[in-house]
Each structure stands twice: as C-alpha cells, then as structure tokens.
Amino acid sequence: MIDKMLSRVNADARLVHRGRWVNLTFVLGIGNDDYLISIVAGKITAIRRRHLATDTGEFSIRASTKSWAKHWQAVPPRDYHDIFAMLPKQIAKIDGRLEPLMQNLQYFKDVIAKMRTEEGDTNGH
C-alpha cells in the first residue's frame, strides 16, 4: 500500500519541483513498521521496509496505523488533518535531524498526504 506514495509523488511534477533540493532518506513509521523513503531531487527513488537496526534516515515521522488511516481519509477529522496538528496532540512524533524537514516542511507534508485518496485509506498500509 505504501508503494503508491512513490508513483503518486513522482507523477506530480509540481510537487517534485518544490522538492528539487531534497536529497535524503527519511523514516515513516506506521504502527510497528518503519519504512525508509529515499528521495533524490524531489523524486522518491525507493521505499523499503526497515529490516536492520542500522537502517535509518535523517529524521522520522511516526504514528499509529489507525492515526495514519485517519490522516489519509479524503476529509480527515480534526487533529488528524495535518502532521503539525497531530504533533501537539501527541498523535504523531518526529525525531532526528529536523533541519531538512523544516527547510521543506510543506513538501514533506504533501508527500505524505499523497497517500490520501478520494475514497480514503482505511487500511493504513
């Protein structure tokens, strides 16, 4: 399910353009599973499930499976509608080196929101 993030992001030329300075791997935590999302010049080049403890990224954004499912609904409920609405409610958590996240915050929020569909995603991943 998470794989569709790659095709959706890379098909959005404007989003890729906004992320043209982004070259890194970050960790998206969905429940107990971590995914390493690698980006080169705004395009996602790989999404891998984390297997080794030494596999990591510049920063991580984590939430429960149910929370991401709400975030990815077509019209998310309040507190789940944006990562920075999830943080103060402790629904999501960020860690790591935050500079690249903050330098490209709207880009990363939009990349993750690409999982959002008109039908919503009730499975999370």
Binding site: H81, F84, P88, M102, Q103, L105, Q106
Partner: protein
C-alpha cells in the same frame, strides 16, 4: 471599461506609542459603530478584506483594520535593526489603545483573531466601560507552545516558507483552496522574526486565565468564536476560556480553522452576522 473598485480605502498615519513613532497603514469602510479588526500573529490586515467589502456589515459598522507596527505596510520603528521584535501584553495593549485614541473611536467593538483574540480579553478586563463589545476569534486565555520558535527565524530555514507550512495545519481541510493559499501568502510575506516576535505574546506572555473571571461582561460583552479544526486555539481551550469568563458567549464554528475571516469568509459570515446584530442593539 470602468474599474470596479473595492469599497475600502487605505491610508497612512503616524502613531506615537510607547515612546516610538510608527508609520501605520489602515483600511476602512462603512459608517456606524466602530469595528476595529486585529489580525493574527505574523500576518496583516488584509485578512479582513471580506469584512471590509461586505455591505451587510459596512451599512451598520465603520470597519477599521490596521497593520500592527512591523507588519504589512506599517513600518517598524526607526533603528529597528538594533533590536529583535518581541510583542508583549503591555506593548500590544498600548498600541490598540493609542490607535483608538488617535482615530477618536467612541465605544468601539474590537474583533481580534488569534493573538488579537487574546488581547481583546485583556482589554475587556482593564477598560470594559470604553468598549461596546469584544469578539475573540480563535482566542483563549491559556495556551501551550508546541514547537520551538527558533525555527521561525534562522538563516538555514526560509522564514516565509516555514511560517506558511506551520500555519497551514491550522486551516480546515474543507476551506476553499483559493482562500487557504491567500491566507498562507500573507504568512509568506512577513518580515524576518516578526511571526516569532508575535508568538512571544501569543504563547509566552499572554496567559491571563487567573484573571478571566474578573472580566465584567455586563459592561463589555465578550463573544468567543473558534474553529473546529483550529489546532492552536482549540475548541476545548475556547470552551475552557468561556467557562472562566462568566457571561461570555461561545461559538464553535464547524468546518472552520484558525483564520475564519480569510480562510472561509462565506462560512464565517453565517456565524458572525447574528453576533453583529446582537452587538448593534447594545446601547453605546
């Protein structure tokens, strides 16, 4: 082809406040009860353009919206480069009082949003006889910071981009895309460190929950209005504030975020008009 001018007019004036001289930009439209509008932290009075252009409001109210010093088209004081901007309760109250005095406003209504919604309660507490009523949009008497303000002003993060990205979380997902991005554009244009300086008041210097019960709402009615999707001044915080301000009236606006007047002006109007009608019937 004739130009279809919008009804508001913009003017500059010099304001002496707190020992400094400021060149202030203001817009106004309408006749009647003065309705002074206070913009959010890090933005400017353009947020109120729909209120200023609405004949249903301007037929009864003289709507005035000004840019605070350092914001929009108002200047910072001379020598601003020698200090960091930091808004305080004392300084903010002084500027609003001085603007009311300079414009010779009698029994005005003050409608402020976010930090403007916080300061109106301070004003209601201290000078209830002067003001006709207060409308606190997205204003609470107690708030909790949830990110480090230093992210807003540092050389390796674009101030305009990060400000817009932060506050985009406070806009309701169903608000019209056009107005969402107009609201964010204002944030993209703020001066370096100004949003951070405003949030000093909003998050660190503005709490007054212990004094809220002292507000005399018989002398100065207080209306609290907050959006369902506001993750800063949440509905819960607004309701808690209302429980402390005895006699206040509270409205939770469904499908609305932190910027009602600019993110969804049509929906906001449906909530605002009954309150303005009620205020218009209050004796001066």
């Amino acid at each position: 082809m004739a130009i279809d001018f919008e009804p508001m007019t913009g003017r500059y004036f010099t304001l002496n406040s707190g020992g400094s001289e400021y060149r202030i930009y203001m817009e106004e439209a309408g006749i009647g009860i003065p309705l002074l509008c206070l913009h959010t932290a890090g933005s400017d009075a353009r947020q109120f353009r729909h209120i200023l252009a609405d004949p249903d409001i301007t037929s009864r109210f003289r709507v005035i919206a000004f840019d605070l010093p350092w914001h929009g088209k108002s200047n910072p004081p001379k020598g601003f480069r020698d200090s960091d901007y930091k808004l305080t309760v004392t300084g903010y109250k002084q500027i609003i009082s001085d603007v009311c005095f300079a414009l010779d406003l009698h029994s005005p209504v003050v409608m402020g949003c976010s930090m403007g919604g916080r300061i109106v309660c301070h004003l209601a507490l201290e000078n209830p006889e002067y003001f006709r009523a207060m409308i606190a949009l997205e204003g609470a008497d107690k708030l909790e910071p949830y990110y480090n303000l230093d992210w807003l002003h540092r050389p390796d993060v674009h101030g305009g981009e990060i400000q817009a990205a932060f506050v985009s979380s406070q806009i309701a997902p169903m608000s019209p895309d056009e107005y969402r991005w107009e609201t964010l554009w204002h944030y993209m244009q703020g001066g370096p460190g100004v949003f951070k300086g405003d949030l000093h008041f909003y998050w660190l210097d503005g709490d007054f929950d212990e004094r809220s019960p002292q507000i005399n709402t018989k002398a100065c009615p207080v209306y609290l209005m907050s959006g369902e999707y506001d993750c800063s001044c949440t509905p819960e915080r607004t309701l808690e504030t209302a429980s402390r301000i005895k006699g206040s009236k509270v409205t939770i606006m469904q499908g609305m975020g932190h910027f009602p007047m600019s993110e969804n002006p049509a929906l906001f109007k449906t909530y605002l008009m009954p309150i303005l009608s009620e205020i218009a019937n209050i004796p001066a």
